[in-house]
Amino acid sequence: MRSGSHDFWRGVWATAPLLPGVVAFGLLYGVMARQVGFTPWQAWAMSLIVHAGSAQFAVLGMWGAAGATTIILTTLVINLRHLLMGASVAPHLRDLSPPWKALLALWMSDESYALAIAEYERGRGSHWYFLGANVGIYLAWPAGGLLGATLGTAIPNPGRYGLDLLFPLAFLGLLTAFLTDRISVAVALAGGGLALMGALLLPGKWHVVVAGLLGSALGLLLEEVGKRWKRC
């Protein structure tokens, strides 16, 4: 039996390669937050309370111009992709109590979801690992925001050091856990291709929702077609 604390710390450590990217993204958010009139503490509080990077950036873009309802609805829409992530991780969480499920959902970020689901796929996953990954990302994000809001534009552009590459590179490594046969490779290629088209055409994060749904549906379709083919 593996111990909870061991898995927890393994989850925290697994976020390490991603943290420079999360902090750099947080710095950028902090600078932008100041520009729309946030105090550093407000910038920090928003990250701590909301903990949803893409939605926070979108909301900064409409701060002062949009009402509370619009802001909250925008947050909801941008985070719709988490419905898909939650759905796919749900089977692994069936034996947990409702408070545990709620705790894991509360801080589930793109990054910690990817780390946790890949670990489950490799047979080493656990709710403690998931929580550790959540906590690692959760602590780094507001820290970057506070730093960015305090230092202002004195910070260098993270793109210069390639820090924005950590996210796609780490996710590629995690993605390979799911490329187990030809169908799953086709699913990933379709998901990536559709998402690229969607990112150029659709607002917000709709491209992830559309590509996630269509890509996974393609997998099921190919599986069914393959079965019929064999039966003939």
Binding site: A68, G162, L169, G198, H207
Partner: protein, 116 residues
């Protein structure tokens, strides 16, 4: 103060998107949304379960490709895209996160130093 209330509303909206499917599809109830094929002979539960197996591959790829090729919403095939492409090859060969990051970042910094 008003800002804090808006943050709380945003947090609630975020939590709803993250928790809903975990609560609905993570139930251990007798309806067996996941184990259906053998026990109930039902087609629907089996389909749902098999569909969910393909979701991570589709979602992770959907997060990677735009972040690499169109980070600002328009196609950008510069050095970052090349570095991620090399990362993809290394990921494919090693299936390892750290090697993938090391390869992509090394290439990025090397070309940067060479004046790309």
């Amino acid at each position: 103060m008003e800002a804090l209330l808006i943050f709380a509303g945003m947090a609630l909206a975020t939590f709803v998107t993250r928790y809903t499917m975990i609560a609905v599809l993570g139930r251990p109830d007798p309806a067996r949304p996941f184990g259906g094929d053998e026990e109930s002979g039902g087609v629907q539960p089996g389909l749902l379960r098999r569909w969910l197996r393909y979701v991570p591959a589709a979602v992770l790829a959907a997060l990677v490709v735009p972040a690499a090729l169109a980070p600002r919403g328009e196609l950008d095939l510069g050095l970052p895209a090349l570095a991620v492409l090399i990362g993809a090859v290394v990921a494919w060969r090693t299936r390892n996160v750290l090697w993938t990051i090391a390869a992509g970042m090394t290439l990025f910094w090397l070309f940067r130093a060479l004046g790309w």
